[in-house]
Structures are given as C-alpha cells and as structure tokens.
C-alpha cells in the first residue's frame, strides 16, 4: 500500500510550531528563573497576551513582584494580573515610566513580542532597549523571542528547548 501520510517535517504545521514555541518558552523561563535565583529584584513580563507565560512565571517565582505590560488585556480570566501590577498602553511610554524609581532593580525581563511583522518587531526592540539597559540589575536576565542585539551576545539556550528561536541575555 502507498503511504499517503506526509511525515517529512515534524514541526511544519501551525499546531507543531505552536507546540515547539510553548515548549521553548517553558524551558527558557525555568532556566532564567534558576539563573536569577540569587539575584534579588523584580520581574517584568512585557507582552501579556493570553497570560500563559505570566502564569508560569508567577508560579516559578512566587515571592517576586511581577510587573506586566501590554497594550490591552486579552488574557485568560485567571491570568489577569492585579491592576496595581498592570501597565497598559504603548510600551514606548509604559516602560520608561518605571524610570528612575526602578532603575537597576529588575532581575528578569521576559519580552514575548513576536508579531508577523519583522519591521514592527525590530522597531519595538529598539524602543525597549534603552529602558531595559537602565532597569536591569547586574546579573539580571533578559529573555525574548526577538534578538536584542544591544544587550550583547545571547547565551546558549538550555537543553530541551523546541525548534523555535529564543534569545537569552545576562547583563553585566
């Protein structure tokens, strides 16, 4: 019998790609949380989305303050941060608003920005970089689905990540 199935690429459907992305995020978040275990400081979730990675982060780091940024809330009902921790609006305004009071006080920043518009993503990275450089504490970790080239060379990703690009930086 002719094999009618198409098995050539295990990660080409949108279902497979989504799975690779979520598995990569989980492994990277767990690695980043371990990396900053001895670095005091708060956590930034830049891009709440459905709230899945926020939910994972708050379980990994239950004692940390987590500040969350997005344009608007469209998260799952049980993944909506308390309003005091939620900064809604354009990232180019909400993130700089943490300065100067929160300078050098962030241990971990997770920026899940990816759209399907590379030019928009590059502009967003450029806009976030100066604020992040001032907010991050020495030894802090920035994790993103887009490269932040101004933060230096990305570190190797932990074992177990899926077939999805992610970028990990540790600041001096």
């Amino acid at each position: 019998m002719i094999d009618e199935r198409n098995l050539q690429d295990p990660a080409s459907s949108r279902l497979a790609r989504m799975l690779e992305r979520l598995q990569t995020q989980r492994v990277c978040l767990e690695h980043a949380a371990e990396t900053v275990a001895s670095t005091a400081g708060l956590v930034l979730e830049i891009g709440l989305g459905k709230g899945r990675t926020y939910d994972h982060l708050r379980r990994l780091l239950p004692a940390r303050e987590i500040l969350v940024f997005d344009r608007e809330v469209h998260a799952l009902h049980d993944c909506i941060p308390p309003s005091a921790a939620l900064y809604l609006g354009d990232f180019s305004k909400t993130l700089p608003a943490l300065l100067p009071s929160r300078s050098r006080s962030v241990a971990l920043a997770h920026a899940d920005l990816g759209s399907e518009d590379p030019a928009r993503d590059r502009a967003l990275v450029e806009c976030l970089t100066p604020s992040l450089l001032q907010l991050m504490r020495p030894g802090g970790v920035v994790l993103s689905d887009r490269p932040f080239t101004e933060l230096g060379e990305p570190l190797p990703l932990p074992a177990g990540v899926g077939l999805f690009p992610y970028y990990l930086y540790r600041l001096d």
Partner: protein, 166 residues
Amino acid sequence: MSRLDLMIERLQAQRLCIDWAVDRIQGIDGVVLELGLGSGRTYDHLRERLPRRRIHVFDLAVEAHPSCVPDPIDLILGDLLDTLPDFVRSFDAPVALVHADVGTADHATNRSIAASLAPCIPRLLVPGGLLLSNRRELGAGDLLSLEPPEGAGAGHCFLFERPQDD
C-alpha cells in the same frame, strides 16, 4: 499546573492523537471532517498529514490565521446544530475521520451541544472510521471507545471507532 503547562499538554495530546488517527485510517477510503476550525492549528496539521484527503471544515465564523483558512468550497459556515445534520442528509460520500474540537467556556452548553451532535457521527462514519474529539459526550451510539496513544492522557482527547458491520 500553569496555563502554559496545560496548553502544552493539550497541544501534545492533539498532535499525538491526530498522528495516530491518520495512521489508523490508512487504507480506509473517505473524507475528513473538521468540526470547529478555531485558530486553524489542527486543520493545518490534518491537511499537512493527509494532503490527498478532502477536508470539510465547519465553524460558526472564520477566525483562523489567514494561512489556515480552507477553500470556500470546503468551508461550511453556520451553527453546527444546523449544518451537521444538513450535511448528514445531503452528503453521501464516506467519512473516514471526524475531528471535533468544539466548545465554549460554559460546560453545560458544551455538554448539550455534544449530546445534540452525537447522533450524527455514527451515521457519517464508514466502518473503521474514527472520531477524535475533546468531548467524551460526542462518542455515542455503537461507537467503540479506544484508548488514546501513550502520552495523550489527561482527558484532552477522546477516540472512538465505528465498528465493522456484522
């Protein structure tokens, strides 16, 4: 378990069960029905795995990613409680696989939708044809419940087979 863990578990179960069902229906003639297009992820996986089968897709409206929108000729829009019985009445080709990912946030509504749709499924499937669903209630009548493949536990997917005729 975080929402991230849950979603990973659910997508893994979907992928494992679809791949398993695709393998199982080899040699069984028939089209595929996708009940509930949603974001189009499972439709995309089905059409990638079964490039030579026709897939009829049902949903209330198209909210899928643009790359996962079926050809209009394969798309049946409207309330499943109307469109599926209509399809049963008018379509006489064999159906080898029904994948039904249906539901809302309301459990009572989900159960009642599933109960209303369930009688359609055995009438559609060819002997040996499969139903794969996120709703156990959809597998009714003389459908046989099958054990999901290893790794696809936790109640995310339920598999049923129409037995061979005596």
